[in-house]
């Protein structure tokens, strides 16, 4: 029966090729636009480490000016911490893993090698690699023993290792970082989490850093943060020591808490520290000590911007226009073919059979529309990618990184296409089955 209905559908397409093409095109355009917006939205709103949702937390405390909120339009505490607070909390033994970090500029060269190159560098602690599940190509991260006092060890990204050593296993070799010698202990494999949840300050879609050094080197070499530093208060900050003691937020802290009990203990630890400092005259704003998991963090930091929410809405409005259009065209087409349907009904086809026959016709249209729509969406995404990439002059980072299909996106798209078109086809197929056959048999 299916094969017969499919043949009928093909026959019907052949009768009005123009109309059929129009319907497929309308479906395809609607699907293409909505899939494009959804893909970008999905790329923005994804949580790249969802399996650690109940373990991984970023730590923030409201240390800001009692007279002025950190941001007048937001109720959130500053997204980073002062050195003194972060340093104190970092000494806690409650977290299973803990990371203190910031990002800085550096200049690196391999001994006896080519000209020095600027590298974006992360000063971080030993747990960074395990906590964020960073993959290694060669070697490993450093042990926590190398954190303090800081050992001259360095981890390179794969790209940087390719540039400096042509991709060879460079573990054990040395590089000069800002004219100091460091020994390579590990080389990362490809790693590009999107969004860059562990540090959103340098842009949510920026590439990870090229080099990783023990956190205390940053302090020792008095390296400033190159992303976001915010200060309040009127105390002179003349040197790095002043800076470390000032109400300046510049450090990011993450903790991995294995259980909700550990989470409660960590919260109590923070609150206890807050109360102590509050009594001593700091922390004069209402208490706001937070442990925020990744998905909430991405929401708090507004990784998905308003424009993209708007575009998703627009995409669906456009899909609605296309589907309404398709309903209209299908209806016209089926009613045009009513005399034939009348004959089939008179010859004994049931309403249900008529309905099934037309639904198969609709199904074929929807599959064609979805396939064409996905192809158009891929083209559209490539165009948007090109637009972003050319503005970046070929450098990575930015929205260009999320203008690709991922597997979940394709499943979404196919599902959306089929469901939407079948929904559009239901009414016309039902309507044509309800036509009284006698009326159409009367006229030619």
């Amino acid at each position: 029966m299916f094969a017969y209905y499919a043949r009928l559908a093909l026959h019907s397409f052949g009768r009005n090729p123009g109309l059929t093409a129009l319907m497929v095109l309308a479906i395809a355009l609607g699907i293409a636009v909505s899939v494009m917006t959804l893909t970008v939205y999905h790329g923005m709103s994804g949580n790249p480490i969802w399996w650690k949702s109940d373990r991984l937390y970023t730590v923030t405390m409201d240390n800001w000016d009692p007279q002025n909120a950190y941001r007048p339009d937001s109720r959130l505490p500053p997204p980073e911490m002062t050195y003194r607070d972060a340093h104190h909390l970092f000494d806690s033994g409650i977290p299973e893993r803990k990371v203190l970090m910031y990002s800085s500029n550096g200049v690196m060269s391999a001994a006896g090698n080519t000209a020095p190159v600027p590298v974006n560098t992360r000063f971080t602690t030993a747990d960074f690699f395990a906590m964020f599940e960073v993959p290694f190509l060669y070697g490993n991260g450093w042990s926590s023993g190398a954190d303090s006092p800081p050992q001259p060890v360095i981890v390179l990204s794969r790209d940087e290792n390719d540039k400096l050593f042509g991709g060879a296993n460079s573990v054990g070799r040395t590089v000069r970082w800002n004219d100091h010698e460091f020994r390579i202990v590990g080389v990362l494999n490809d790693w590009f989490p999107l969004p860059r949840y562990y540090d959103l300050n340098g842009g949510a879609f920026s590439p990870p850093d090229a080099a990783y050094l023990p956190f205390n080197w940053g302090v020792e070499l008095e390296q400033l943060n190159n992303e976001e530093t915010d200060c309040w208060g009127s105390h002179p900050v003349n040197n790095f020591k002043d800076f470390m003691n000032a109400e300046c937020v510049w450090l990011q802290m993450w903790v991995e808490l294995p259980s909700s009990a550990a989470r409660t203990r960590m919260q109590e630890f923070m609150d206890g520290y807050w109360a102590e400092q509050h009594k001593a005259g700091r922390f004069q704003r209402p208490r706001d000590n937070r442990l925020t998991n990744v998905s909430q963090w991405l929401r708090d930091r507004q990784v998905v911007d308003n424009d993209n929410r708007l575009l998703v809405g627009l995409g669906f409005a456009f899909l609605a226009v296309c589907l309404i259009n398709t309903v209209g065209l299908l209806l016209a087409k089926f009613l045009n073919g009513a005399p034939v349907t009348g004959v089939r009904r008179a010859l004994g086809a049931s309403r249900r059979q008529i309905f099934a026959q037309h639904l198969i016709e609709v199904g074929a249209l929807s599959v064609a529309g979805a396939a064409l729509g996905l192809a158009l969406a891929a083209l559209g995404l490539a165009a948007v990618h090109h637009l972003y990439a050319s503005a970046h002059l070929g450098h990575r980072g930015g929205y260009q990184e999320i203008t690709h299909f991922d597997s979940i996106g394709v499943v979404w798209a196919v599902g959306l296409a089929v469901v939407a078109t079948l929904a559009a086809g239901l009414y016309p197929a039902w309507r044509v089955g309800r036509l009284p056959p006698a009326m159409y048999l009367k006229s030619q």
């Binding site: 424009d307 609605a320 226009v321 259009n325």
Partner: protein, 405 residues
């Protein structure tokens, strides 16, 4: 001349579905089109705001010293001397801060010591050549003199302020409303004061997306080696890219104690800062065009369908005396009624969407001229789309009426 709306209306009501579907499309299309184009116009306005800078002819060279031997002041002197001697270079200056790049420094300033510090204002460290090198207009007071450019901050005195500053007219107006800002004093976080000696306008600072991108002040100081150093290099028109290649090759070799991070045109930074707005505008225009196109096809298809199912009726009307133009008019009026219904619903929908956007995303409320324009445009498009099927209907010969049954 009567338009015969009544019989057309009653015919429409007897066969509603197709007409309702087209009206729904028109309504949605109107809501999408009006709001999308309104947003597009805002983005175009935003991108087109005056920067006060000769964006097309300025290069930004970013340099970092990294060895123990590196000395910022002699290095800058040597680089500037070289840059000013390059053929095609109009002016070169050492500064901290990149115009229009969406990144930079901001510090509070107040007009009385001990006043509440609520706002941070974007600041650049500049030298006496910076205004010329960026093409910025001084509208009052004077530029910095060479001897007023302070030595760089060091890691021992990083809180030092300067005796004079230049401010943007917008910041001057904000700090000293309706007053002449020249000679006025402002205070930093440590209550160190500076006197305003000049006013520039128009100008856009480092943050084009901020609410007040034109609140900017200029500090006469050599950039510190532990912060960032840029050279702003202005070239003669058409020479920019040639100069860029030349100076990048030279500077990369000239001093082994530093690296050149990048040599980029200022338009690169500007384009990148506005990339989101630019893409959004392209996207909205494309989708709007598609919405209109699909709606057009919908109207066309419905009209064609109506004509083909009513061939006999048309023939009968022609046989009893209707002229061709009556038939054309019938279909155009029918289309006008359907589109009109859609447009009425669409107006309400467009206003509702506009209101929702203004509440949800803090966009300005929809301008009603856009709505009027959208209504007229869609109505016109509807008539155009129905024109060809109506002409075909008019071509039906009266004899058709006699042929069947």
């Amino acid at each position: 001349m009567s338009l015969n709306v009544r019989p057309i209306m009653s015919a429409l009501l007897r066969n509603r579905t197709g007409a309702v579907l087209v009206a729904m499309q028109v309504a949605l299309a109107l809501a999408v089109m009006v709001n999308a184009l309104y947003i597009v116009m805002q983005r175009i306005d935003k991108i087109g705001r005056p920067t006060g800078i000769d964006v097309d002819n300025v290069l930004i060279v970013s340099s970092s010293g990294f060895t123990e031997h590196y000395q910022q002041v002699p290095s800058i002197q040597e680089d500037l001397a070289y840059l000013r001697g390059v053929d095609g270079v109009v002016a070169a200056s050492a500064m901290r801060g990149t115009p229009l790049s969406d990144g930079g420094d901001a510090e509070p300033l107040v007009t009385r010591p001990e006043a509440q510090r609520t706002d941070n204002y974007n600041d650049w460290e500049v030298d006496e050549e910076s205004l010329h090198a960026l093409g910025i207009q001084l509208v009052a007071g004077r530029n910095f003199r060479h001897d007023e450019i302070q030595p760089p901050l060091t890691k021992q005195d990083a809180s030092r302020f300067v005796p004079q500053i230049i401010v943007s007219r917008a910041l001057a107006e904000h700090l000293f409303p309706h007053e002449n800002p020249l000679g006025k004093r402002v205070f930093d976080t440590l209550n160190q004061s500076a006197t305003i000696i000049g006013v520039v306008d128009p100008i856009m600072g480092s943050f084009p997306s901020n609410l007040h991108p034109d609140w900017l002040y200029l500090i006469p100081r050599v950039p510190a080696d532990f912060l960032g150093l840029n050279y702003a290099v202005r070239t003669r028109p058409g020479m920019r890219d040639t100069v860029a290649r030349l100076i990048e090759a030279h500077l990369a070799q000239s001093n082994p104690d530093r690296v050149i991070d990048s040599v980029r045109s200022l338009s690169y930074y500007k384009d990148l800062s506005y990339l989101g707005d630019h893409t959004m505008a392209i996207y909205l225009v494309t989708v709007t065009a598609l919405v209109i196109g699909v709606t057009c096809l919908g109207i066309f298809a419905l009209a064609t369908f109506n004509v083909s199912t009513r061939t006999k009726q048309i023939g009968t009307r022609r046989a009893v005396g209707a002229r061709r133009r009556d038939i054309v008019r019938y279909f155009l009026v029918e289309n006008a009624l359907v589109t009109g219904g859609g447009v009425v619903v669409g107006c309400a929908l467009a206003l509702a969407v506009g209101y929702w956007l203004s509440v949800q995303y803090a966009l300005p409320r929809l301008n009603l001229y856009y709505l009027v324009g959208g209504v007229l445009a869609l109505w016109g498009i509807g008539q155009l789309a129905a024109w060809q099927p109506a002409r075909r209907a008019a071509a039906v010969p009266p004899s058709v009426a006699t042929r069947t049954v």
